[in-house]
Each structure stands twice: as C-alpha cells, then as structure tokens.
C-alpha cells in the first residue's frame, strides 16, 4: 500500500515533467544546436590545427556529457521557479512523501536530459562522428541516467537554498561552467599540470565524460570501473542530500 502510494507520487511528478517537456519539445531540440556547432566547428578546427587525429570522436562524449550536465542542473534548479510561481506549495501541501516528490522530479528531469543526450548521440553519429559499436551506444544510456540523476539532485539541493534569479546566475557561472571546463571534455587528462589534474579528478563530471568515452569510442584514461563507482556514489549522495533538503523546505 505504502509502496504503491510512493510509486504513484514519483509517477505523478514524472508525469508533470513529461507534460511540460511535451510543450517545450521544439525548444529543447533546438537547444541541441549549440553543442552541435561546438562539436562540428571546434572539433574540426582543433583537429586540423593541432593535427590531432579523431579529435571530433574524442570531443563528442564530452559534448554529450556537457549537455547532460546543463539539462540536469537546470531541471533540478527549476524547483526555484516552482517556488516563485507558487506551484511548489501545491506539491508541498500534498499528503505525500517529499522524498518521493524530489525523486519524481529527478526522474522527470533525467528523462528529459537523457532524451537530449541520446538525440545528440544519434545526430553526431550522422554528422560523421564514428562511435565504436551499437552495444556501446546502448550502454551509454544507463550511464547518462546516472550522470543525470547526480546533477539533477545537486540542482534540487541548490534550489532549496537559493532565493533569487541572481543566485541562479551565480550557479551557472560559478558551478556549471567550471564543471564543464574542468571535466576533460575538451582535452586529454594525461598532460595536465598537477594543480589542474587534481581539480579535474575532483570533478564528478570528469568520470561521466570518461565513462561515455569508454562506451562510445572504446578508450578512456580513467578505468570504467572507477568511473562507475564514482558516478554512482555521487548520484546516491546528491539524491540523499537533495531529497533531505527538499523535505525540510518551507515556502
């Protein structure tokens, strides 16, 4: 009975995100243009200027991870708008477990993020990026899920603490951008100076990029097992924290 109710709550919140997604479809697909430009222009330019072979292949998993990160953090932080527009009251007043609400929200957001990630994977494939194998591409999907859950919960946790739009801007410039730049999405990890190497290894997104690299192009500098352990621990930790903070929210 209780499990049934919890499931119903998670499903309801997921359903809401999907209903919103349905209406924002064109905008969300359109938002794939930027990463695609990145990949095509930067990937081609860097590859030819520095004579790196297959730079586009190297960069593609990084770009996919970047899109997942943006979409997830944004999805989590949208709790802030729910508060702004009052809808948060409607869900906080409901006689349901708040952790389940947060979880439903996370699943909804991660579905959106994964749709974007998968689309980008397919499109880049069509644009001449050669991925290793179909099973590899399929295996990337659960990895996208773990990456998404981790960052979406981080977004939810932040949203419970952030008051205003300025706060949102701060998150975007002081969290999201550094996470992308310090993730190894654009450069190999081996030749970095020590300080940068440490920063990159402390960044959970790095392990997402590396894991996708492993499944998509078949090579990664960090062993896949390490990547999976770090990503999973990150996802569990942020979900626990995000769910807990969300449960204590006042409006």
């Amino acid at each position: 009975m209780d499990a049934m109710l919890s499931f119903q709550t998670v499903y309801t919140m997921w359903l809401r995100e999907m209903l919103r997604f349905k209406r924002a479809k064109s905008r969300i697909v359109g938002s794939l243009a930027t990463p695609l430009f990145f990949l095509i222009i930067l990937g081609t330019a860097m590859g030819s200027s520095y004579n790196i072979e297959n730079y586009k292949e190297f960069m593609a998993p990084g770009i996919i991870a970047m899109v997942l990160l943006f979409s997830s953090i944004f999805g989590g932080i949208s709790v802030m708008w729910d508060r702004e527009f009052g809808f948060l009251k409607e869900i906080l007043i409901a006689p349901v477990n708040r952790f389940c609400i947060a979880l439903g929200k996370a699943f909804g957001g991660v579905t959106t993020a994964m749709i974007q990630g998968i689309l980008l994977m397919i499109i880049t494939n069509g644009f001449g990026v050669h991925y290793k194998s179909l099973p590899g591409m399929l295996l990337s999907i659960p990895i996208m899920f773990i990456i998404g859950i981790g960052f979406i919960s981080l977004g939810i946790a932040l949203a419970t603490k952030i008051e205003s739009h300025e706060g949102f801007q701060m998150v975007m410039s002081f969290l999201t951008m550094p996470l992308v730049l310090l993730s190894g999405a654009f450069f190999p990890l081996s030749k970095l100076p020590d300080w940068l190497k440490i920063a990159v290894h402390l960044n959970p997104l790095t392990y997402g990029v590396e894991a996708l690299r492993f499944t998509l192009i078949g090579e990664s500098e960090i062993p896949i097992v390490v990547c999976l352990v770090v990503l999973t621990s990150f996802a569990i930790t942020t979900t626990a924290i995000g769910g807990w903070l969300f449960g204590r929210m006042e409006v």
Binding site: Q8, T9, L15, L19, E84, F85, G86, I93, P95, E250
Partner: protein, 330 residues
C-alpha cells in the same frame, strides 16, 4: 470534538510578530471565518495550521494531530486554497486537476468524476484544455478553488476564496462551500475581505488585528454587542467629527468611530438615543448636515475593533488581485 485547536500559536519573521499568541478552537463541522485588515496575520496563521511554515512558539493541532510533530497526518486531513496562484501555468487546467487528484490518491474513475464536477461548478469545463497561462485572473482563481475542493478533505482552508470573482460565480462558490460543509461535514476555515461573505457563510468569526484575535463570536452575537443600530452623522468638517466624537465619548457612548467628516455611533436603541445625540451636538455648537440610522452590520463591528474599514486599503479587489498576480510573475 475540535477540528482545530491552537495554544498561544505565534510566528515572528526576523523579530516582527505576524501572529501573536493566538488561541482558537474550531469545532468539527464548523464554518469558521477569519476577518482582518491587510497584514493582520490571517495567511500566516493558515500557513502554520497547514504545516507550510513552523510556528515560532506555541502549538496547534488539526484533526487531532500536531502541526509540527505530525505534519504528515495533518496534510493528509486538509485541503488548502492559497491566497496566490499555485497552479502550473505551463499545463492545462485539466492537467492541473489531474495531477492534484493523483497526488491525493484518487483512483482514475473517481478522479474523472470529481474533475467534471468541480470544473462544472466553476464553469470552466469549456476552457479545461487550454494552458493556464492563457486564463484570466478570475479563471485562475476559480480553477484554484475547484482543485482545492476535489479531494474532499476533513478540514478545508480557504484563503480569500472569492477575491476578485464576479458576483454570480461568488454565489455559486458560496453555495458549494456551504454544501460541502453541511452535506459532507467538512470543517472549513476561510479568510475574507467581504463582510457579507463572512456574515452569510460563517458559524463563527474571529476578527484578527495585528496578529491577535480581538473578537470571536457568531455573526449575530458580534452584531448584537452594541444592540444592533448605527447612527451615522455627517458634519461640516473632519475637525468637527473628531470634536463631536470626543464629546460623545465623555457623555458615555461606548462605540464611536469617525471617518473624515462622518461619525458612527453604535447604540442599542436608536429611537431613545437620537434626541440626545442632537441636543449634545447642538450644545457643543456643531452643525449636523445629515443623519442616517440603520441596522448595524459586521462592517461596523469590524471598524469598532480594528479602527479601520476592512477595505480602506483595498481600492478594488480586481486591481488588488491583479497586483498580487503581477508581483508574483516578476
């Protein structure tokens, strides 16, 4: 049994006391009104009772459960229609109701039935497939009420349910509120700026000012405290009004208030008082332009307790509501 009991319940925001040691008890099945000017603390009280914010001190129970320690049980027993919009504007009206029904565990068939029922009530059936962001302010309000009624809670909080609605819709909502209360036995607490609404609907009314209950009784008792008549005198200037009210106070009239050049006297039997009122004014050299006598209304009682008319700072409700919606959308 009491549906709601508060014991010295208090809320302060950074030292500002919004609700100050309020003790009320609402009986099961009662329709209870909270009346008070803007900023009196009505919404804050409802937010505490609906577990949305924690009291700074004091306690409250709803349906027998403590609002802090057993908030989950409280939430399971209540429904709330908040003062501002809490709809998802990116979704249609229908979708908003559907999600609500799911959150409250209504099975599909019952959900559908209730949705049709409440959409019909607020006359939004034909708009239910449109996005809420295309709704007018009044339509948003109506949908909000419809949603709050959908799950038939034990205790229903309505924070200014009919603010900004046209008279016809308001009548429908009143009818439905009363039906819910009488036929379903739902305890209802509502706040309102409309005196006739409180008078018409409520079994008992608490008048709240500056976070405190200043009067609490049935509308009839409240009105009968001063015997039921109001004498309204229009004078030449507001100075005259102030002066005359002082004179009357010294002469022993208990309930006097002034507004510009008008003096209101609440009295038991106007026929005995009117001659004295005239002679007193005459002897103090104040000219009376006109005089009206009428049965006292809840408005008069309200002015007596809070020192101001309930709508002094509510130019008109639609403007007020639009303002509220706009400030939220910024």
């Amino acid at each position: 049994m009491n549906a709601i009991v508060t014991d010295q319940i208090t809320k302060s925001f950074n030292g500002f006391i919004a609700v100050n040691k309020i003790n009320i008890s609402v009986k099961e099945g009662e329709l209870f009104g909270l009346l008070g000017p803007n900023g009196a603390g009505k919404t804050t009280l409802i937010n505490m009772l609906s577990t949305m914010i924690h009291p700074t001190s004091g306690t409250g129970t709803v349906n027998g459960f403590d609002v802090v320690h057993d908030s989950a049980s409280v939430r399971a027993a209540i429904g709330v229609v908040f003062q501002g919009s809490t709809l998802d504007e990116q979704l249609t009206g229908w979708e908003n109701l559907d999600l609500h029904g799911r959150l409250y565990g209504l099975p599909a068939s019952l959900r559908k039935k209730r949705m049709d029922e409440v959409l019909d009530l607020v006359e939004l059936s034909h708009k239910s497939k449109l996005l809420v962001k295309t709704y007018s302010g009044g339509m948003i309000r109506r949908l909000e009420i419809a949603r709050g009624l959908m799950h038939h809670p034990k205790v229903l909080f309505l924070d200014e349910p009919t603010l900004g609605l046209d008279p016809q819709t308001r009548l429908h909502i009143w009818e439905y509120i009363r039906r819910l209360n009488q036929e379903e036995g739902i305890t209802i607490v509502l706040t309102t700026h409309y005196m006739e609404e409180a008078d018409h609907l409520c079994d008992r009314i608490a008048i709240i000012d500056n976070g405190q209950v200043v009067a609490l009784d049935t509308p009839e008792k409240l009105k009968s405290v001063f015997g039921g008549d109001v004498i309204i005198l229009t004078l030449d200037t507001s100075e005259d009004a102030k002066k005359l009210s002082r004179v009357y106070k010294e002469a022993g009239y208990a309930s006097i208030s002034t507004e510009d050049q008008t003096v209101y006297l609440s009295v038991k039997k106007s026929e005995e008082v009117v001659p004295k009122v005239f002679s007193t004014a005459f002897t103090s050299g104040i000219n009376i332009q006109s005089m009206t006598v009428r049965k006292s209304t809840l408005d008069d009682i309200f002015i007596h307790y809070t020192g101001r008319g309930i709508r002094d700072n509510l130019v008109d409700d639609i403007t007020y509501m639009k303002y509220k919606l706009q400030t939220k959308r910024r």
